[in-house]
């Protein structure tokens, strides 16, 4: 039913306010011991310099599926300014059609807006990646593809503020 969803947008922008320091938010995005704990639960690995490699390895939850490759996302660091800004390329490898759409561009902007409150903005430039765009927007959640960025960021906020991820 939702296969008719067609997003004509090529850039998606998501923003969430988190009661945590910019460093805590940066760590949660870039360190595997954190990325394992929310959203899709993959293990992020960054070589944090321009041109450095980036991968997300399948975490415990996704590894249960036999067809899932070890590396589920790959890309390259374009700009790293910890704990404020991270620009990178990003390609989904879990699905052949999405992998064929090639590299997209992902930016994380992390700003402390008041003492103890950090604003995280995710800008995903999805030109030429309409299939991936549906997944990142959460439009394929009923097909079991997870809730995309809105879900990931909601879960991240819950984890950093309460120490526990969302139920389910």
């Amino acid at each position: 039913m939702t296969s008719t969803i067609e997003l004509r947008t090529t850039t998606q922008v998501y923003r969430v306010y988190i009661k945590a320091t910019p460093q805590a938010v940066w760590d949660a995005i870039t360190k595997p011991e954190w990325t394992a704990k929310y959203g899709y639960g993959g293990l992020a690995e960054y070589d944090m310099r321009p041109g450095g490699a980036f991968v997300i390895r399948a975490g415990a939850a996704t590894k249960a599926f036999p067809s899932v490759p070890d590396i589920i996302v790959d890309g390259e660091v374009i700009e790293a300014d910890p704990p404020r800004k991270l620009v990178q390329t990003w390609r989904m490898l879990m699905d052949a059609e999405m992998a064929a759409e090639g590299f997209t561009r992902l930016t994380h902007e992390i700003e402390q807006i008041q003492e103890g409150v950090t604003r995280l903005t995710v800008i995903h430039e999805l030109e030429g990646a309409p299939k991936l765009a549906v997944v990142t927007s959460g439009g394929a959640e009923r097909q079991g593809a997870g809730g995309g960025w809105p879900w990931v960021l909601s879960d991240l906020k819950s984890l950093l503020e309460t120490g526990a991820r969302l139920a389910g």
């Binding site: 997003l7 004509r8 947008t9 090529t10 850039t11 998606q12 922008v13 998501y14 923003r15 969430v16 306010y17 903005t121 800008i123 927007s137 959460g138 809730g147 960025w149 809105p150 879900w151 960021l153 909601s154 879960d155 906020k157 819950s158 969302l166 139920a167 389910g168």
Partner: protein
């Protein structure tokens, strides 16, 4: 007013829901584009966009000279994850309880 209050208040208006629907169909629009779809003054549309922005439902980004408006569904997701899920979970478990009770009686 807390964050959830701002979201509910922003959504409690048909013009603002219309604007979100337009952005859902095609994101990253300018004020001029959005204004063209409404029988309303530019100032009126700006006011509604400001309410949506302060609720976090719209995020603006500069692209050259243009200010683009993006739909940010995260605040709605937060309400969904914290509130809706909580209540639907309880309904589901209540139904499960009812089922086991009826089956025990049978």
């Amino acid at each position: 007013m807390d964050d959830d209050d701002r979201v509910f208040k922003a959504l409690a208006d048909p013009t603002r829901r219309f604007l979100l629907d337009r952005l859902f169909l095609r994101d990253g629009r300018t004020l001029t584009e959005l204004e063209a779809e409404l029988a309303m003054s530019r100032f009126g549309v700006m006011k509604h966009l400001r309410v949506l922005e302060s609720a976090g439902l719209v995020v603006t980004r500069r692209s050259g000279r243009e200010k683009l408006h993006y739909l940010n569904p995260v605040p709605i997701r937060l309400i969904h994850d914290r509130w809706i899920d909580k209540f639907t979970e309880r309904q589901v478990s209540a139904l499960a309880d009812l089922k086991s009770e009826l089956e025990q009686q049978a």
